[in-house]
Every structure is written in C-alpha cells, then in structure tokens.
Symmetry: C2
C-alpha cells in the first residue's frame, strides 16, 4: 500500500458516513438525553474522514485476506471469445488500469474518454478492422456509483482452466504454464453443477461495503471486455452486518485461520516456491453456489438440525452429543480436522424464489426460495484444500447433504498482485 | 411509539456498530496520526448504544414514511389457501404479534414454543383435525438473525384484491368492504406482467438495514402462515449506501414529497374520510418489478440517455435542451407535474443474470443482467396516483420505455397501523 493510497479519503460520502457519524453524535449527546430521530441524527452528523479504500496495488491481490470481509460481493466468470493471446493480455492490462481507478473510488476511465480496448496504448484487439462497433459516443461510465465512496472495493482476478487449455486446444500457447496444482475439478458425490453456472476462463470477484459499487465495477469491466470476453455467469452475495450465521441458522466461518496472521496466510493461502514463477504469491479460488433447501430444513426438528451440524443452534456452542457419535458424525466433526487447509470467505446469497414442482412428500410444491451460500475459499493447493475436504463432506456429511445442492462454481488460479506499472497476470503472459 | 419502544436498544451489536465506532475512533485520533488498520479500528471501537428500532405499533403502519429509508427490502406476496374468514383473521393476529416482536429485535415467538397458528389463543385454523403436520418439534426460530440488531426492521402489510373477491367469489364476506379507490389495476401500454410475479392476496414488505434481518422476518411469517397462506412471489431489493442513483445511472427519487412533513403525507399518502372506516389512516401500495435492458442502455450515446431522462448524467442537473422539446418530452418532463401524487420508496434489485437469446440487432445474445428497479410507491388513491402517472409514461415516455420492462408487481391496500392490543386489519374483519 503506497502512502498515496493510505491517504486517499473519499470526499463524497453521504448516508454511509452519516450513519457512522450518527453514532458519534449519539455518544456525545448521551442516551439519557433522549434518542434523536434518524433525521435529527443525520442533520447533526459532523463530517469525518474515514478511509474507505483498500489498496489495489500490492504483493498479493486484494480481496483475499482483506479484513474485515466486505459486506457485498458481485462475482463474474467470463468466457474468452478471442483467438489471440495478445487480446487477452491487453484485456488484463485494461482491467488492471480500470481496477486501480475504481478501487480508489474513481470511474473506470476518465469521463469523456471513449470506452474501448483500442484506447489502451498499443492495444487493438477491438479495432475497426474486425467490424466491432464504434463506442466513441458511449458513456465512459455507466454512472450509478458516481459520488459514492470507494466502499472498500476490491477486485480479485482469476484464471480458469480454459485459459490454458480448452476442448483440448492450447488457444493462447499457455498450456505448459498450467501449474500441477491446477487440476481439473473432480465431480463429487451429489454434485449437480449446471453448465450455465460453472467454470469460465476468467473470474472477477468484486467485494465492497455496498452492492451498487460492487456491481458497478463488474459492469464496467464487462463493457471493457466486449469482443474479447463475455459474461458466463454471475452471482451476488452478502454478509450480514453482524453475526456470522448462514441461512441454515448456524454459525458460518468458525475455525477459519486468522486472515491477519501473515505467517498463517503464507502457509495456507499463498503459493510459494512449489508453484511456477507467475503463480508465486498467488492463490487458488474455489467457489460453489450452494442452494439450501430452506423450506425442508425449516421443517426438521431442531434436535436433528443440531445433530447434523454439531452445534447448539441458539447458543452457538458445540454439541457434545453429536461429537461422541463416531458412526454418525456431525458436519463440524467432519470438517474441523482440515479447517486450516483453506481460508473461507463465503457469502450468503438470496436471489428470491423460483417456482418448482416436486413429488417429494409431503411438504410443498410451489414457490421455493432461491437462497443459500455462495461458498468461497482460497488455498495454496486445491488438492489438499477444498478437494480433500469436500470429498469427505460429499461422502460422509450425510445429514446436511440432504439439505443443500451444489449447483455451480469454479476453480480459478489467482496470480499475485500487480505492482506499479504491472498488470495482473503479466508474468504468465511474458512466460514462454 | 411507546416509551418502551424508544428505549429499546440492542445489546448484541457487532460489526455494524464497530464500523460506526471506528469512525469515532478515527475522529478522536485524527487523520494525521495515521490510519488504523480495520482490525485496529475494530479493536479500539468503544461500545455505544444506538437506537436500531422502528416502532411497530403506531397510528400508521411503519415502513411507509419511515425515514431514512432502510437499505434492504424483502417483499413477499402471498396467496390465501383457506376458505375460512376466521383463518385469515387469526393469521393477521399471529403476524401482528410476530411482527411486533421481530421489529423489536426479538424472535418471532419465544424460543422453544411450538410454531403453529394453533398456539394462538382461540385460533385453530391449522389444527389436528385437518391433517396438517405436527410442527411441535420444529425450531421456533430459524436462527439466522439471532444476536443481530433489530436493524430498523419494519414490516408493512397489505391486502390484495383477492382478499375481497377472487374469480368472482366473495370468499370471506369482505367484498362489500372493498374501497372504491381499490380498483383493478389496468393493463398499460407495453406491460409484460408475468402471472408468477404479479398480484397476491396479502403482501408483506420487510425493510431493514440488513438483508438477513429482512429475509428472516418474511421467512418466519411464511412459516407461521403454513396451511393458510403461501408465498406467491418475492423480491429482494437494496438501496445504495449513499447517493440516489438507479441502475441506469441517473438520479432516483428526485422531487419526492417530504416524508417528514406530516401535512404533506396526510395529503399525499394517508387515506382520509373519503375511504371506508377500516382504511382511514392507511394507504395504497403499488409495486413494479422493472427490469432494465442494461446492456442495451450501456450502448447508447450519452447524449441520447440524457435526452431520454432529461438530466445531465454526471452532474445530476436538469437538461434544458430536452426540457424545451415539447414534441419529444423527456422522462422528467412527463412525470414532474404529477410528482406529488404519490410517495416513491423504490429499491434497486440485482438478481444476477439469465441466459437469453433474442434476434435484436446487433448487440448480444447470451447472459443478460437480471437487474433494475423494484418500484414502490404509496398513495392515498391509486387512480390519481400511480395509474394516472404511469398511463402517461406508458404512452409518451418513448425513449426510456425501450430500455425497461414491467415484469410484475401488484396493488395492495395497506390498512392503518395496529395500536396496542389490536391486529393489522382488525377493523376490516370486524366490519359486517
């Protein structure tokens, strides 16, 4: 983080900071003096300067051990639709520049400038000669985040297997750079991974304190990518403003290694000398869209839920009864031994409800919540991380597996962060 | 708001207030002294007491002129599946009790109690004799909001036309109580209202500062309703933490009447002596799920966008050029004269993306954002409010109408608030 980044404070903050400042006002006024109405609290709010910026340029990519974890995410996977290696490199160059601007609270590019990869120095992947449209009159920014705080926006980029080899073809001459740890994701017991929600050649995870800021960032990156990469699937997610409960009502993220302990993160998250040069300081990302069968779960006796999870629901304490049952292990009993093989950074998702009709007795046909967990984890090696742990869960976490379905996701290699003047993944594209 | 409500402060606050308190710490330490890391700011956060409660019991229902508007909503429409008027009354009684508890930050019912309408005094709509399942072992609360702040939760209840008459049938003997203002919603030019996203006999709008708290509340109400009412459609929404821009990038909610001016709200929002007794102090709610054609919009020249809206995008100022064009009016020119006929309280929504294939030239087939506006307005009379204004928009707002589709929504009569000992809609069910 440069000194300049550290001192970057947002000048245009409105309600978010009024809320924070409202707390200040309440403290000084004192509770006994009466609670000001929200309108009064806003009016009394002093202007305070708060760092709302997470540095984009650093040794590791931001958005992985960034703490506290931001409250909103917008995740996008892209398919590359170009045949040219240089197009991909130029896209990453354009994305890096746009990300460094947006994470600082700025627009993706200067207002008034044309929005096309052709505007990048020596980049012409989308030039006039290939029939792509002329975007010179388009808005250079879609506008919905103008005037908003940077909201601790982070943008984390990843590479899917398809960047290295797709349908048996080495499209970009990168196949030999694929790390040994970057295996194809196996199919686990019970997996119901929909093609339309799975995979992708590139990934972008936007995290921010505000959902509009997160979406805005991906929207600009998708526009910049036009003609080179197109959206394959997206997923919104949120984390509750306090507490750590997922939508089954139990604790989430317990037993995570400490994100602020750099020695632990070096051991668990960051690729070291075992990886190829371009991947050192990077990490592997696994995401899973896990739909919860909420209506079914909500009909189960609480005692069953607690045995399945291995935790007392209302007190959050571990349940001794299920701990002792070797033959019928709880979720926590299965996963706890391996908990330090990955850093979990999951979000809940809530995409409303869909109409379903099932002949399962006897509960309900009709509208079913489309909500659950957007599971996210980062690890130094997916084989010893997610794959090892989830293989056990898929086989033995029998009580809980009935109540969730893994519908989509992906495995992505996230290279190290881009330092000044570099672009994300530069070492990979310079490797021969 | 009772004195007890006013003094209800949440004892279990975590990150939300740590964020507020972090601002306090920064103010006293001073920016020049260096920015504490987020972890340090959290560690230094003093415990402050902040009112996070909106009163449930009052003359008008909360969640309508509640200000500032909370950042999250979860809206649900229900179909009544009972033939008995008393079942509906008992459901509203149970919902009122649960709402008064949850808006105060409590569980829907005491932990450990059985979750069934049969637990309500003299209510047996879901009793043993009709074959409904025994829920006595079910968790009394699904748990995901335990330990969280009330987050300014409001729950606003409404009645759809189907409560009064459905398929020509007066199911509950309430047809003669239907107000004259509660007309059937006309079909407007361009409407593409999907049956599965439209209507409903009952509505619940949960608004809160936290999406998990809002969803939790509707989830409990849906569980309580089992056997009497079932979910028909739902919609999540959010408002950005600052600024007032919708996802087309222009300003949202400009020219709204003042929510804190009670004389104006009496004139615009609250039904007076013109309505039937049970509806006085209530209001009419119109919602519309308006999907934006974001990818198409983002390809339009900025000058076109500004002419369509009637506003300069980046500065938020009105555009004189389009104001002067009588024959080709801007959106703002069309809606501004009628702006004080309703109170708008809209949210943006972002449900990710869907796969579409259209033969529209020449832009893109593939993934399309499923995002836009969940339009919400409250008015004293929908005929002079939404219906009058939207009829003009549907016909004349031609430049913008190409870029959005009204996919669903509803019209609901929201009765006055429940005072101590009353339940929502009590006057209606006592009327004969």
């Amino acid at each position: 983080m440069s000194a300049g980044d550290k001192e970057l404070f947002c000048a245009t903050r409105r309600r978010f900071l009024a809320s924070a400042a409202g707390a200040t006002a309440l403290t000084s006024v004192g509770v006994a003096a009466g609670t000001p109405s929200p309108a009064e609290a806003q009016a009394a709010a002093p202007t305070v300067a708060v760092a709302q910026t997470e540095a984009f340029r650093s040794e590791h990519q931001a958005g992985i051990v960034t703490f506290p974890i931001q409250h909103s995410t917008y995740f996008a996977a892209f398919d590359l639709v170009t045949a040219k290696r240089n197009d991909v490199a130029k896209l990453l160059q354009a994305w890096t520049l746009a990300a460094s601007r947006m994470t600082a609270g700025d627009t993706a590019q200067p207002l008034g400038s044309g929005l096309t990869l052709a505007a990048m120095p020596d980049a012409k992947p989308n030039g006039d000669d290939d029939g792509s449209p002329d975007f010179s009159a388009m808005s250079s920014d879609t506008g919905e985040a103008i005037g908003m705080s940077p909201s601790r926006l982070t943008l984390t980029f990843g590479f899917g297997a398809g960047l290295f080899i797709k349908d048996g073809k080495d499209r970009y001459g990168l196949a030999r750079q694929r790390p040994a740890a970057f295996v194809d994701m196996p199919k686990f017991v019970g997996d119901q991974m929909a093609e339309t929600r799975t995979g992708g050649d590139l990934s972008v995870q936007a995290c921010a304190e505000d959902p509009q800021v997160a979406f805005h960032a991906v929207r600009q990156l998708a526009r910049i990518a036009e003609g080179v990469a197109q959206l394959r699937w997206v997923q919104c997610g949120y984390r509750p403003s306090s507490g750590e409960r997922h939508l089954l009502g139990f604790s989430n993220g317990k037993g995570n290694p400490s994100m602020t302990d750099t020695a632990v993160m070096d051991k668990v998250v960051w690729v070291g000398s075992e990886g190829p040069a371009w991947m050192r300081g990077g990490t592997y990302l696994v995401t899973r869209r896990i739909r919860f069968a909420i209506e079914h779960w909500d009909h189960m006796p609480q005692a069953y839920q607690e045995q399945a999870v291995g935790e007392i629901k209302y007190s959050h304490t571990r349940s001794a009864a299920s701990e002792d049952d070797e033959d019928n292990p709880s979720h926590l009993r299965i996963v706890t031994p391996d908990r330090f093989t990955m850093l979990r950074r999951s979000y809940s998702y809530n995409d409303g409800a869909n109409i379903v009709a099932e002949r399962w007795p006897p509960w309900r046909q009709g509208l079913e919540y489309d909500a659950g967990m957007f599971f996210i984890c980062y690890q130094r090696d997916p084989r010893t991380g997610f794959i090892n742990m989830f293989d056990k869960m898929a086989k033995y976490d029998a009580k809980l597996n009935q109540f969730w379905t893994h519908e989509g996701g992906g495995l992505f290699a996230c290279p190290r962060g881009a330092r000044d003047g570099e672009f994300i993944g530069q070492d990979l594209f310079k490797a021969r």
